[in-house]
């Protein structure tokens, strides 16, 4: 009996993360229409922004004449933000309904429990991203090339992880779904106070200042590069660094709250 129960901790941890991710997908598959809001919101924003602000490309300073190409990465990242925040809302619901207690009472390490939520969000964010991309390409956005596409999808998945850490932190802090607007608004502000709508030079002074220091601007530029020009390492590494930094900070906050849940 003992031999069959003794398996290396890393395998147990991986199995637990996989099981939690499998559970997370139930909401998409088993609740009719659950995937729709997550896909619909960024798509509407993409089409809306394109229809409303498309004429901005006439201004000097725009690297592309097609606004679709300029904002499609924003919509994909917005989808990631939305998905990650939704993961936070789900965690809050799990806390309210007592499900988290089941996980906390198990011997699984706290970081493993958090990783399950975060990685599930990362994977899930690829769905709205793919949908928005398909629509954008149909409307005439430039093809970013395979390398550009891979970089964009990576940025999207990582951004969803960042958003999930943020959402989880708030969920564990407030233990209530009423923190949902804060989760969504926080991500919205983070992603849009960048070169989301226009290149840096064309932003209003105060927004320029914020965009300069906002790490997500680097993520936006990295995700966008294939759509507006060519892909280079110089354009990519700042985005990776920004994501690593955000994950480190928000991930630590979330993990600390997870550990403090018994207080």
């Amino acid at each position: 009996m003992e031999a069959t129960l003794t398996i290396p901790a890393w395998r147990t941890n991986l199995a637990t993360i996989g099981a939690l991710m499998a559970r997370a997908k139930n909401e998409l598959i088993r609740v009719p229409g659950a995937a729709i809001p997550g896909v619909l919101a960024p798509t509407i924003f993409f089409l809306g922004l394109n229809g409303v602000f498309g004429a901005l490309t006439q201004l000097r300073g725009f690297e592309t004449g097609a606004y679709e190409s300029f904002i499609v990465p924003i919509s994909m990242l917005q989808g990631a933000g939305f998905t990650g925040a939704a993961a936070g809302v789900n965690l809050a619901r799990d806390i309210e309904q007592g499900w988290l207690d089941r996980l906390l009472v198990s011997p699984a390490p706290r970081w493993v429990l958090l990783a399950g939520t975060v990685l599930a969000a990362s994977a899930r964010a690829l769905i709205p991203a793919t949908f928005v991309l398909a629509i954008a390409l149909a409307l005439g956005a430039s093809w970013p090339g395979v390398d550009g596409l891979l970089i964009t999808f990576f940025m999207v998945a990582a951004m969803a992880a960042v958003a999930a850490c943020w959402g989880s932190f708030l969920a564990l802090r407030f233990k209530s779904q009423s923190a949902a607007p804060l989760m969504q608004a926080g991500m919205m502000a983070l992603i849009l106070t960048t070169t989301a709508y226009a290149p840096l030079a064309l932003l209003a002074g105060w927004l320029q200042d914020i965009a300069r220091v906002n790490p997500v601007t680097q993520v936006v530029e990295a995700a966008r590069q294939g759509f507006v020009g060519s892909v280079s390492w110089a354009e990519t590494w700042p985005g990776l660094l920004a994501l690593a930094g955000l994950l480190a900070v928000l991930g630590s906050l979330a993990l600390r709250e997870m550990r403090r849940t018994a207080l």
Binding site: G33, I36, P37, L40, A41, I44, F45, L47, G48, L49, N50, G51, V52, F53, G54, A55, L56, Q58, L59, G61, Y67, S178, A179, P181, L182, Q184, A185, M188, A189, L192, T193, A196, Y197, A198, L202, L203, A204, W206, L207, I210
Partner: protein, 261 residues
């Protein structure tokens, strides 16, 4: 007491409840005010270069242009929120209490709309304050401000009527909540965020026929130039149209609800 006075009392009581409910839960008001404010800030900062575009109406600042759109966004969300609140009442069984009382059915809806109107009023003051704080002037002065407040409040009630109709028909808060993306769609397909003539097709054409555009222009014109009787009348007509639609839908939904229980 005349029946008119009696009904007014009922509407007042239900209205007070509706207003109290609305403002007692800040986490419900926040999205209605905070999201549009964030969006206002970001869009003003991000797209202000649009002032350079040929054909952009003469304005003091991009913020001055955008204020009307932010107000309209807020009132749309307020209408959606009022519908959600009514749906929650239905789910909780509170409306059964009202239906079994000797009051005309329309007072139930009117009372609910009072809460929505209060939110609309709050939103109009909020955005006017934001505008003044950040240097946007109202070209037609106090009169223009009062007109904007009136139009926003009336439009909030009108949209609230649609929200109430959907709530009565479906009885489900999550269905009403799920219509939030539709609110965004209607907003984007109007002149809320950009001059109609500078939009890209097909959004441009849709915006031309979208009644929301008329409401937006009615609120915006007094801010960026002066009060135009034509714009104001069109805005009022659009609001009236939505009110009529809301009334018809609410009436049908109420009858349906009372039939099927």
């Amino acid at each position: 007491m005349s029946s008119w006075a009696r009904n007014a009392r009922v509407v007042r009581a239900l209205g007070m409840r509706s207003v109290r409910q609305t403002f007692r839960r800040p986490q419900l008001i926040a999205p209605i005010i905070v999201f549009p404010t964030i969006l206002l800030a970001i869009q003003t900062g991000g797209a202000s270069g649009a002032l350079e575009l040929p054909g952009f109406p003469p304005v003091q600042s991009f913020l001055q242009f955008m204020l009307a759109g932010a107000m309209v966004q807020s009132l749309m969300l307020a209408g959606n929120s009022g519908g959600i609140a009514l749906a929650v009442d239905i789910e909780m069984g509170f409306t059964d209490r009202l239906f079994s009382a000797p009051i005309p059915r329309f007072t139930i809806v009117l009372g609910r709309l009072a809460g929505t109107a209060a939110l609309g009023l709050f939103a109009s003051f909020w955005f006017l304050a934001i505008g003044l704080l950040f240097g946007a002037e109202i070209e037609s002065g106090i009169a223009g401000a009062l007109l904007a407040i009136f139009l926003v409040t009336a439009a909030a009630m009108a949209v609230g009527g649609i929200g109430a109709a959907i709530a009565l028909r479906t009885g489900s808060a999550s269905v009403v909540q799920g219509l939030f993306p539709l609110v965004l769609v209607v907003l984007f397909l109007s002149s809320a965020f950009f001059p109609q003539d500078l939009m890209i097709e097909p959004a441009k054409t849709i915006a031309r026929y979208n009644p929301l555009s008329l409401i937006v222009e009615g609120i915006r014109e007094p801010m960026i130039s002066g009060i135009e009787v034509g714009d104001t009348l069109y805005a009022l007509l659009a609001i009236l149209g939505i009110v009529v639609l809301g009334l018809i839908l609410s009436d049908r939904a109420l009858r349906h609800r009372l039939r099927v229980g």
